[in-house]
């Protein structure tokens, strides 16, 4: 324990020193060069640590995964597209694809629309700060804690027994004749129950960013419309929404990527059982339960490929932004 403490202290003090030292050192080294060479070299030295980390932890693994996906379980024998055939035909994988589609539509739809609703409405009340903080809270807790919270809400006891889960208790109390549901097991509800948890976690993120955009819509413009006799609905729909559109696109893109990468909530709450498997949880199983590197890699590549269109759209947007700036 003492050595761990010492290590932590050394790192906390050492890393900033190291970083600072690096800057001082490269500047001192560069000074000796002629002015023009200095400016050619400087950006690369400043970028080097970051590019190194990204290269090692993201770019190199991505390339290596593509290679591994063409080999067998132990990465010894070349098997061609066999792992991809598995990924596109195995029944569990087909379920995963269907579920990711559900996530894509409902997770993205609900997070963005609740975030938008929250952003527009909290802008009009005096307790805005409190309301936004409350909705942002789930972002500050881990997915596992969120999973535990919601397992508790979804808890099921057979009909007749006192329900200790809030959802079943409320529904049996309010609707006479309602039969309690095992929300996380019942195939009709479990995927939506999981998506609801993820929505609960991520709405705060959408809310904060959209709220910033709402605040930046010019007040004079909205006021002018009101003076001209526009109703509040028209002001929001006709004037505010078009102005918010770029931000909505950013938020929606981010949420689409999260929907495709959905993992934590599923892993914590059902482990992908009862027909709730998603692509990422299946990949985790292939990797850690079955130790099949080939299949796991192939699934990872498919996951990445699915995010490529989103990435291309995003980069195009960045370009447009740069052009405007």
């Amino acid at each position: 324990m003492a050595s761990t403490l010492l290590l932590a202290a050394v790192v906390m003090a050492g890393v900033p020193l190291l970083q600072f030292g690096y800057a001082v050192l490269i500047e001192a080294g560069i000074r000796r060069l002629p002015e023009r060479r200095q400016w050619a070299l400087r950006p690369w030295l400043w970028l080097a640590p970051a590019l190194g980390f990204i290269g090692i932890f993201l770019i190199y693994p991505a390339i290596s995964t593509v290679v591994l996906s063409l080999f067998d379980a132990r990465s010894v024998r070349f098997v061609g597209a066999q792992n991809y055939v598995f990924a596109f035909t195995h029944p569990e994988m087909l379920i995963a694809f269907r579920n990711n589609l559900l996530w894509l539509v409902f997770f993205t739809g609900f997070t963005v629309s609740f975030g938008l609703l929250g952003a527009v409405l909290t802008d009009r009340v005096r307790y805005e700060g409190v309301a936004k903080t409350v909705m942002f809270l789930p972002m500050a807790i881990s997915f596992v804690a969120a999973g535990v919270i919601w397992k508790f809400v979804y808890e099921f006891r057979p009909a007749g027994a006192p329900q200790i889960g809030l959802l079943n208790a409320a529904l049996t109390g309010l609707l006479p004749g309602f039969r309690p549901l095992a929300w996380l097991v019942d195939p009709r509800t479990n995927n939506f129950a999981l998506i609801a948890v993820a929505v609960w976690v991520w709405v705060g993120f959408c809310l904060v960013i959209l709220s910033a955009a709402v605040k930046s819509t010019p007040a004079e413009l909205l006021e002018a419309a009101r003076v001209d006799g526009a109703t509040e609905w028209q002001v929001v729909l006709r004037i505010m929404f078009p102005l918010l559109m770029p931000t909505i696109t950013v938020v929606a893109t981010t949420m689409i990527i999260f929907a495709l990468k959905a993992f934590d909530v599923v892993y914590v709450m059902t482990s992908g059982n009862f027909g709730t498997e998603v692509i990422a949880s299946r990949m985790y199983k292939e990797l850690f339960n079955f130790r099949h590197f080939g299949r796991a890699s192939a699934i990872a590549v498919i996951l990445f490929a699915a995010t490529v269109p989103v990435m291309v759209a995003n980069i195009r947007r960045f370009r447009q932004q740069e052009a405007i700036r």
């Binding site: 890393v15 910033a212 990872a300």
Partner: protein
Amino acid sequence: MMAQALRVLRRTPLHAVVIGMCLIWLIPAIGLLVSSFRPPRLVAATGWWTAFIPPLQFTLDNYRQVLGAYNMGRSFMNSLFISLPATVIPIMVAAYAAYAFAWMRFPGREILFTIVVGSLVIPLQMTLIPVLRLFTSLDLVGTYPAIWMAHTGYGLPFAIYLLRNFIGALPKDLLEAAAIDGADPLTVAPMTVTVSNLVNSLGQNWQLLTAAAFISMSVPLVVFFTLQRYFVRGILAGAVKG
């Protein structure tokens, strides 16, 4: 007088929706908090909302048990050792890169920035195998530096992207970005593993799960509340400019 009453009435649905959303976001967490203070046999038998009907029966036993028997205290400290350096390192590394991207002109700047932003969408799972292999060959698996470095690698693209927007403003903004990473749910990894193990091994022992989950929430929540002002403003600055 009449007009004011009408105004209040017209605004009722607005308040109803906002307060309703807040309740949906709060109630599940309150249920967890209340349950973590209830004796096991009651948690398993009755809903948490019945806890406020006298006779009141609250206890600290769940916390005592989780902190003692399940090594929660230890993984609590581990979380801190991981999250602090894992927060500081990426910010510093990203700051240099973001500064270069924002203020320096050099060939390939746009392509490199595109790659950095593009690496945001690489699924974490996709990097696990090669990184694990790399760490194995370097004999680094399970060590603190390995975890710090991995966090740095995974956190960098987002940090660079955000910081690029901040840089050029006051240096204070750097601290705000630190606040953003401080609340990152990823940085509570060992805590996650412990709670996750508890979920699996304890199954239906609700009272222990609730206490464990609340302990794991406490640090990020304290960080969030302390830095909340910067946090929201920090995101605003990035989003508005970006």
